[in-house]
């Protein structure tokens, strides 16, 4: 059994499936454990099931099969304890219209059963640069500001587990950077964060672990660094002095290709392999008298890894 509470996962999803009315299977037996304090990024194309999974955990959608616990509390039997630990920032900009920023955030705190705490609300609003807007009606705010209001509402009751469903969709670059800053601060305060995103850059920058979901299946869960290393694949590009029309014979052991104009020779290799083969390739090239004037290497980004993964499955 788990020895300390801190070691137990804050979120445990076991065998969760979802079949919507009409038979569409949105999730297929998802298993996932989230450790306390980590930032987990859930990646996947549109309609993969990211939002369905989050909605089930938060109590907005019923699950068809499986079991979920939040900090050890079952989301069905013990929903009060489970939900009071969760903050949810939905994907859509669903806000009230006529209420003021301060009122709507205070309302959220009340809804989660927490006693009034204007000092905490003030801190949340200040952290999100909303304090100046506290008396404004929500309908008068810009889209980016409304997004912040949604985050403030989710933080109003001091959650331990925060879901950010595409937090930076349709948000300008400056605001996106600010939000990353907010997320970092939250993590420093011990909040566990699960985010879904389309911006792979975002996952690459922020996440400790990454899960890839495709057609309702969690096809991969991995430490980000491990994922990059495991699936990482590098290219060495040689800018040739004299163009080649084709890969010279005798180089079939190497994964080589020649650019259309023959000026570049590209060698693809796996960073995980015991030997990358670069040394021997260089020697062979020298022996053959193939000379180059420059060289560069390129590492695959998470985006390329992700696209490859999803395409492999399709």
């Amino acid at each position: 059994m788990q020895s300390t509470n801190a070691a137990a996962p804050i979120l445990a999803v076991r065998g969760v499936s979802k079949i919507y009315e009409g038979g569409f299977q949105a999730l297929k037996s998802i298993d996932l454990q989230i450790a306390r304090g980590e930032i987990f990024a859930l990646l996947g194309p549109n309609g993969a099931g990211k939002t369905t999974l989050i909605s089930i955990i938060c109590g907005i959608v019923n699950l068809s099969a499986g079991e979920i616990t939040v900090d050890g509390h079952d989301i069905g039997r013990d929903y009060r304890a489970a939900r009071s630990k969760i903050g949810l920032v939905p994907q859509e900009l669903t806000t009230d219209a006529f209420e003021t920023v301060f009122d709507t955030v205070s309302f959220s705190r009340g809804l989660f059963g927490k006693k009034k705490n204007p000092a905490h609300i003030e801190k949340v609003l200040r952290d999100l640069s909303l304090w100046d807007k506290r008396d404004n009606k929500i309908m008068t705010l810009s889209g980016g500001m409304k997004r912040r209001v949604l985050i403030a509402k989710a933080l109003s009751h001091e959650p331990e587990l925060l879901f950010l469903d595409e937090p930076t969709a349709g948000v300008d670059v400056a605001l996106r950077r600010e939000m990353w800053e907010v997320v970092r601060k939250l993590r420093e305060n011990g909040v566990t964060i699960i985010l879904t995103t389309h911006y792979i850059e975002e996952a690459e920058m922020m996440a400790d672990r990454i899960g890839v979901i495709s057609r309702g299946e969690l096809i991969l869960v991995e430490e980000k660094a491990e994922l990059m290393r495991k699936l990482g694949h590098k290219e060495l590009v040689l800018h040739l002095q004299d163009p080649l029309s084709a890969v010279p014979p005798g180089f079939s052991d190497y994964d080589l290709s020649v650019s259309a104009d023959g000026s570049m020779l590209t060698y693809s290799y796996d960073t995980n392999a015991e030997r990358t083969g670069i040394g021997s390739l260089m020697r062979r090239l020298a022996e053959e008298g193939i000379r180059f004037r420059d060289l560069s290497t390129k590492q695959s980004t998470l985006e390329e890894i992700f696209v490859n993964l999803v395409e492999d499955r399709a």
């Binding site: 907005i60 019923n62 009060r80 489970a82 939905p90 009230d96 309302f107 059963g113 006693k115």
Partner: protein, 253 residues
């Protein structure tokens, strides 16, 4: 019991009322005053007493009921429909609150508002006619039971409705006719016998009859039957609401 959440919903809903004070309070008062002028003064002066009560005074309980039914229903229906419409319902569904608490917040606020309106109309009526209330406690009881029952009914409509048209159609096509045909402006005994029998399937008859008895001690049906029927309606709406939350009907997929 998450009473803080109940209070938060209640406060939120009451704030909505105060934001739209004109529409919420002044317009029903004006329309009720018009009823008094037209039915009470203009037409009522030509009508004899009904059950020993002047016609102007006779219609007061019915008018209060009419407003009570409409306001409880539309307020509760709109209160829960609007979050569904804007999408803010996500917060309600993901909060650590039980269905009972959600109902208490929304229905409580809608009932409070309609009862306040009922009392305002009662006060307005004293400007036009001489009123006497023989059983004030019973009057309050019927006021509360009716307001709560119809707020529950409205809450169900708000959950059922998937467009503004449906939201309007039940109050317009069902409740207003039932209220008018339920004896707001006449005693059921004034109808031909056949229509008297038909009237007895109209739930509003029992509400208005019981409420009028609280005022003048006369009624179309006995007070025990009125009270029993009112409690039956309340029970029916409670059962429906329980079913809705148990299954997540129209709320959760």
């Amino acid at each position: 019991m998450n009473l803080t959440a109940v209070a938060a919903i209640y406060k939120f809903e009451m704030a909505r009322t105060f934001r739209t004070l004109m529409q919420s309070i002044i317009s029903p008062v004006i329309s009720t005053s018009l009823y008094f002028v037209v039915f009470g003064a203009a037409i009522g002066s030509r009508i004899e007493e009904v059950d020993g009560v002047s016609y102007g005074a006779f219609i007061v309980p019915g008018l209060i009921m009419l407003t009570l039914l409409q306001q409880s229903l539309t307020n509760a229906a709109f209160g829960i429909y609007f979050p569904k419409f804007t999408g803010t319902i996500y917060e309600l569904l993901s909060a650590p609150i039980s269905p009972i608490e959600i109902v208490l917040g929304y229905v409580g606020a809608a009932a409070t508002k309609s009862m306040a309106l009922g009392l305002i109309i009662l006060a307005t009526a004293t400007l036009f006619v001489d009123l006497r209330i023989e059983h004030p406690l019973w009057m309050i009881l019927f006021l509360v039971l009716t307001a709560v029952t119809f707020a529950m009914f409205g809450f169900i409509i708000g959950i059922w409705a998937d467009g503004f048209e449906k939201l309007q159609i039940v109050p317009l096509l069902i409740v207003t006719p039932l209220a008018f045909l339920g004896g707001s402006f006449y005693s059921i005994s004034m109808l031909p016998e056949f229509w008297q029998d038909v009237s007895l399937v109209n739930p509003v008859v029992y509400l208005i009859s019981g409420f009028r008895w609280a005022f003048y001690g006369t009624s179309d049906v006995s007070i025990a039957v009125s009270l029993a029927m009112t409690l039956v309606f309340l029970g029916a709406t409670l059962a429906a609401v329980t079913y809705i939350f148990k299954t997540g009907w129209r709320l959760k997929s």
